[in-house]
């Protein structure tokens, strides 16, 4: 005989089955959606690539060159894109200050260009020794002539150690000499010097090269992180720190300049104004500075050397460089329109990154803002359209003031603060910008290399 209860286990099983199916269906939809987003990110293509058989040459496989190569390879259908750079190694240069102050191991900032070069881009493993824009070609150091229809110059810059008498990169890590620029080996040796200095104490001289340098915040960060380390080691009283500015300011953005002019004295970091490092005597531990009152020699136990910087000779000596004016005098930087990034005399040539002569912006953040403008405007030129993309001078410096805190400084050509995150004050030290710098910015940088941000 059937009982009423005989049927209930079947109904319960049906309910479990249907609710289980709903759960699994929802989970499947969720996983599917995430896969679509992930797949979209990995294999993103623009809605309509421009069909062309143009030859595009990109000189330099640094941040700007790789980002441009990846963006162009997805924006163009049929183009012959050639990347020229001898270097196999890719350096995440924003990590240099972290390595030089002992916060990162150098391996974290070393990668391989091969991982980021798009499959449909030809890579010539050589350096460009001559730019011949009148002939629409470049010449490599192996003698190869590479012709182009369009050229993107992203060579980076040259750190001019020779401009300081007695200085050479081989001295970094010896005789109390440090320099965070511009490779992990120099940064590692600088850390050895800072480590020793914050233990032994003495006079520390911190310098800044005149004119345009990459990551203009780095000399300041080195000074502040060295001071912070000495504090944490309980040895601050044994250090006499002096920051030598080649001009009358510490930072181009006025609010940050004011902040630093108050912060440095508060932390007992003395400031010498109009002191430009021109020579060094390593064995005597003595540095010579040019000042308006004449040359001054200062003894040191530790010195952080920041040389002047300029465009690489091949670029600086070419017709592509500024021929006159401040950017010619400062570093023979590449001439570009500061907004369109197009060369004013060679309209099929564009530039981005550290090599260009613009009022501000030799940072990875500037590259992130410039490259989309370059690519958009180059595609417009190729399509015979008006150039509409514009670079506003955006640059950013997560100014680390101590371990665990930073100020997220972002500004434009007008030197106005332009914060990306309105809830993070650009006028105050916070923990969150420190996390961004230490943990997340490299991920953003890598996404930029892949042309995804």
């Amino acid at each position: 005989m059937k009982h009423k209860n005989d049927r209930q286990p079947q109904r319960a099983e049906l309910n479990v089955d249907s609710s289980r199916r709903r759960f699994l269906k929802a989970a499947g939809l969720g996983i599917g959606s995430l896969s679509l987003v992930g797949g979209g990110i990995i294999a993103s293509q623009p809605a309509q690539a421009l069909a062309t058989n143009a030859r595009i040459v990109i000189v330099g496989a640094g941040a700007a060159g790789l980002a441009a190569a990846n963006r162009l390879s997805s924006r163009l259908d049929g183009a012959q894109i050639t990347l020229i750079d001898r270097r196999e190694r890719h350096l995440y240069q924003p990590g240099l200050t972290l390595v030089a102050t002992g916060l990162w191991k150098s391996g974290k900032m070393v990668d391989e260009n091969q991982r980021y070069v798009p499959r449909n881009v030809d890579w010539i493993h050589a350096s460009v020794s001559e730019f011949e824009p009148d002939a629409n070609r470049v010449v490599t150091d192996t003698g190869q002539h590479v012709e182009y229809d369009y050229l993107i110059v992203t060579t980076g810059l040259h750190v001019d150690f020779d401009a300081i008498e007695g200085m050479s990169p081989e001295l970094i890590g010896r005789e109390g000499i440090g320099c965070v620029y511009d490779n992990p080996e120099n940064a590692n040796r600088t850390w050895e010097m800072i480590d020793r200095y914050t233990t032994d104490g003495g006079v520390g001289l911190f310098t800044r090269g005149p004119g345009g340098i990459k990551c203009a915040g780095a000399p300041l960060k080195i000074a502040m992180l060295t001071e912070d380390l000495a504090q944490r080691r309980g040895n601050r009283d044994h250090l006499h720190m002096i920051y030598n500015s080649p001009g009358a300011g510490l930072f181009s953005q006025p609010d940050m300049d004011q902040f630093l002019k108050e912060e440095f004295p508060r932390r007992d970091i003395a400031i010498n104004w109009h002191h430009r490092l021109i020579g060094i005597e390593p064995e005597q531990h003595r540095a010579t500075f040019a000042t308006p009152e004449g040359n001054v020699r200062l003894d040191y136990d530790f010195i952080h050397v920041v040389p002047p910087m300029r465009a690489p000779d091949a670029l600086g000596n070419s017709p592509l460089a500024w021929q006159e004016g401040a950017f010619a005098d400062d570093g023979n930087w590449m001439e570009v329109d500061r907004h369109s990034m197009q060369h004013p005399r060679y309209p099929n040539v564009f530039g981005a990154g550290d090599c260009v002569g613009t009022p501000i912006g030799k940072t990875a953040a500037s590259v992130k803002a410039q490259v989309p403008v370059v690519v958009d405007n180059l595609v417009s030129v190729m399509a015979g359209r008006e150039l509409t993309a514009s670079y506003n001078g955006y640059t950013s410096c997560p100014l680390i003031t101590s371990r665990g805190q930073a100020i997220l400084v972002e500004f434009d050509y007008n030197l106005d603060m332009v914060p990306s995150f309105p809830f993070i004050s650009p006028y105050r030290e916070h923990w969150v910008p420190w996390i961004m710098k230490d943990k997340f910015l490299k991920a953003a940088y890598n996404a930029m290399l892949r042309g995804r941000v």
Binding site: R20, F23, A369, I424
Partner: protein, 115 residues
């Protein structure tokens, strides 16, 4: 410098890329355990198991509040203003939720076996 939604996901993908095999492996194991628990014990039992696992999430959240600054190379003295404290709370909630969902499938399976 604004990031689009795709841009944010692109950055997150780059952030987890070095750990992706481990994350996928753990996720797959958890999914399998959850599927087995659902098949064996049903959805209501699984929800009860989630409630049982809740204390683990709470403990992980509290641990996050204490240890997250230290893990980032900082200390609580570096936190300045609302954005830092809200970020710490948000990160700790994330730690708690992650711990909860990691522990839930094995708890769901074990509860079924013990029932």
């Amino acid at each position: 410098m604004a990031f689009s939604i795709f841009g944010i996901f692109a950055v997150l993908l780059e952030f987890i890329r070095p750990f992706l095999p481990l994350i996928l492996a753990v996720f797959a194991i958890d999914l399998v355990l959850l599927a087995v628990a659902l098949r064996n014990n049903g959805l209501p039992a699984a929800w009860r198991a989630l409630r049982s696992a809740l204390p683990v999430g709470v403990v992980a959240f509290m641990a996050g509040l204490v240890f997250v600054p230290w893990i980032t190379g900082a200390n609580h003295g570096n936190l300045a203003g609302l954005i830092d404290w809200l970020s710490l709370i948000g990160a700790s909630v994330g730690v708690g939720v992650l711990a909860l969902f990691l522990v839930w499938p094995p708890v769901a399976l074990l509860r079924g076996k013990m029932a």
